[in-house]
Symmetry: C2
């Protein structure tokens, strides 16, 4: 870690490669509403007095309606991966993915990237704190985007996470990443999740410059 430049908050500019413009903005609002439902169901739990049978029936009716309009999944995969590599579906930043918090990332002039996110009940591990696996998921993605921002991307080969202190729910987290070194097809990248300037989880990744082919 000795070669690591300090990852400090700095001047940011829009990371345009990551912000595809939706062709149907209603999808993004439906996904945002689904995030509210996910959180409210967890908040409700199994001691709620809400009529959960009726809620389940309404949600199943919405899923049925969407399924009726959906074509074959193979066609959708081709569609998802068409264009200039800008995706809207990943589980960390994806506007179309209700699993994503979502994290919004911006590239910085110094070559690093960063974003802030506040995580609620769906991301809980220990009481009142972020699940260690969620931190790992966020950091793996941030390292991948750091590579894209630096201009040389690859697949994760090895990822090492160090947990320094519990990461709180309901507080603004800063997540930063930076590509450190490229040698041949190997790429080394680092990132950190911090709260109030104190590191909670840090990550070091080794990536290999290759890609899974896109579906056609």
């Amino acid at each position: 870690m000795s070669e690591k430049p300090e990852l400090v908050p700095g001047e940011t500019r829009k990371l345009e490669v990551l912000t595809a413009i939706p062709k149907n903005e209603g999808v993004d609002s439906a996904v945002a509403a689904t995030r509210r439902v996910i959180s409210a169901l967890l908040h409700a739990g199994d001691r709620t007095s809400a009529e959960m049978g009726a809620v389940a029936a309404q949600l199943n009716a919405i899923a049925d309606h969407l399924d009726e309009h959906n074509g074959p999944v193979d066609d959708r995969l081709v569609d998802m991966w068409s264009g200039e590599g800008v995706t809207r579906h990943d589980p960390i930043t994806g506007a179309e993915n209700a699993i994503a918090p979502p994290l919004h990332l911006a590239g910085r002039e110094d070559g690093s990237i960063g974003g802030v996110v506040t995580l609620g009940l769906p991301y809980q591990g220990p009481p009142g704190h972020v699940h260690g696996g969620v931190s790992a998921m966020l950091l793996d993605h941030v390292l991948g985007v750091s590579n894209a921002w630096a201009g040389t991307s690859g697949m994760t080969a090895r990822l090492t996470l160090n947990y320094h202190r519990p990461t709180p729910l309901f507080q603004e987290l800063e997540i930063t990443g930076r590509q450190m070194k490229v040698e041949g097809r190997k790429i080394w990248t680092e990132g950190v999740i911090s709260v109030d300037g104190e590191p909670c989880v840090s990550a070091e990744g080794l990536f290999i410059n290759k890609q899974v082919p896109r579906p056609r």
Copy 2:
């Protein structure tokens, strides 16, 4: 990795510590329906002809209804963590968490644990394959449950993931874990995600035997 016993499918028995009985079964069905909505929205994407504005309004109405019945989040946190440590809310196995695939885990007589899961569009990273961060999230949790099954649990201190081959979507994945060693407060645990018997991602974790206090 040389000391690693082979993690083979074997005789399983129910991992009772992980299967709390819901007090309101409707919650589980509402969460299952929400998983269908998450997946259908991703399948729809932003080129769908479905009336997404109407879908968003319906979903927001459901969230509003649930919010009206929900009490303070601090009370919910106390409730979540009451009882014998059996939780239903984590983002990997939680019946109340629509982010969870969910993965069902079972303990084995040989001290390992395992489960199978098939992941769809919400968990995608590279085209048609599981996001490396999702694999990390699943394995961190499986290592934690392996510790619970072995009888000595802790917080993740370091997690190392090795990615051997891309992990496919839409195919049954086997995930196994095993506690390897305990020395003082240090715990070493390993796990692997396999498809058709071939390892895709393996994990080694170091855990420290301490806990975040429960809310009261």
